[in-house]
Symmetry: C2
Subunit: 151 residues, 2 copies
């Protein structure tokens, strides 16, 4: 029962489906995975941002492709903040993530809601819609990084 209790505690802290967490072979792998998912997310978010801010020419196909990636990838990092993943693999995650888990999860939810709007905008092929949705999404990234990511 001890193992089961640890698992339950882990699930409560991580607020994720049991199987998602169980898939990581060890904490370092979870950290590597969430860093990788953030890297992929940042690339495609940055691509939309460059178009939104006029730093790159608008290309509706690229924007739609970015949206398809973001629609799937945005939730992935948050499956990998389980207990024991607060240290290792040069993580910049602050300990508060595991102390203020509800607040951290709310930040994540805000991002996913804003990202869903950006995805819809990017799939519409309408640059003005992308411009409108990009800033609020970027703010949710910044808000969470300011609180929970080391500089």
């Amino acid at each position: 029962m001890k193992k089961f209790a640890i698992l339950l505690a882990a699930l409560a802290a991580a607020a994720i489906a049991p199987s998602a967490w169980a898939q990581f072979a060890k904490p370092d792998k979870a950290i590597e995975y969430r860093q990788a998912a953030f890297t992929v997310m940042a690339q495609h978010f940055g691509s939309l941002g460059a178009m939104a801010n006029g730093k790159a020419p608008f290309d509706a196909k690229v924007a739609a492709d970015d949206a398809d990636v973001l629609a799937v990838v945005d939730r992935l990092p948050f499956t990998a903040f389980g207990p024991g993943t607060d240290k290792g693999n040069n993580t910049k995650a602050k300990p508060d993530i595991w102390q203020k888990t509800d607040d951290f999860n709310q930040h994540a939810d805000k991002m996913k809601t804003a990202m869903a709007n950006l995805v819809t905008a990017a799939r519409s092929g309408n640059l003005d819609a992308i411009k409108k949705a990009f800033g609020p999404t970027a703010q949710t990234c910044k808000g969470c990084h300011d609180s929970y990511k080391e500089k």
Copy 2:
């Protein structure tokens, strides 16, 4: 957000065509991106493999979620093997990738075809179908790694 500002500045400075390749601020970023995409791919491919091989209990929802990620992520690394990305960020990519590009691309296409079958199987919720599709897909990974990835 500092990283993002740097990315935007780099994009502005580069002033290049809006292809997938042009989105990378510099070669190191492309290498980091393809490594990250492979890491995400490996995690979800490994999850299906664990179920296919009886190392993890079968969960149709997890399998379908893995499929949704793999359906989007499988093509991503191959947008990031552009010129100048043969060195840096501890890449294990062999120089032959840029010498035998047609062959490398054929390997990538074989993987994507096999992965599409695995994705279909994983979405079907049928473990036997996953078992049948997993091995051939794993073979395409191994085939490409044997030729084009340093040990």
